[in-house]
Symmetry: C2
């Protein structure tokens, strides 16, 4: 029982980990410190987890990674929406020292 | 064989997903758009995965989540190091419209 709680807590925390990032980016409208490579790499990774879960017919792998993929798609949409405009007057992404 | 490749690729991509973020933050020295709640929530989540993996004696769960935890600890250290100084003159984290 205790181990089930630990497993479910671990899965829930990691599955929903991008919700705080979505909330912060939504409030600040600033995303330039986020790595788009990280977002893309994670999306590709969890997509492959979903494919693997479908093969294994494992609803936990499919479900958890689908939720994460959904939050990553929201975050990537915000990245491109806010990132397109925010550097006008904010200086370069990699400022000189 | 193909399913093993898909599974290993999925695990590798997600396990190493914070490396691009570490590289970007290291280059730019800017972290204010990152959510510290996300970093903390993920660290707690993968820590519980490690505990769960130890209970299940599953070296894959233990190994993959240990690597992710290590990268998250590096990123959190950078967050506090760069975050402490970067807002001097850069404006507030949540600027007025």
């Amino acid at each position: 029982m205790i181990w089930t709680i630990i497993g479910v807590s671990a899965a829930t925390l990691t599955m929903l980990s991008f919700i705080p990032q979505i909330m912060r980016s939504y409030k600040s409208k600033h995303v330039k410190d986020l790595s788009p490579v990280m977002l893309f790499q994670l999306s590709l990774g969890v997509s492959l987890w979903i494919v693997y879960g479908l093969h294994r017919r494992d609803p936990i792998i499919i479900g958890a990674n689908s939720v994460t993929l959904l939050t990553l798609l929201v975050l990537m949409t915000m990245y491109f929406k806010y990132g397109r405009t925010e550097n006008k007057g904010d200086g370069p992404i990699f400022p000189k020292k």
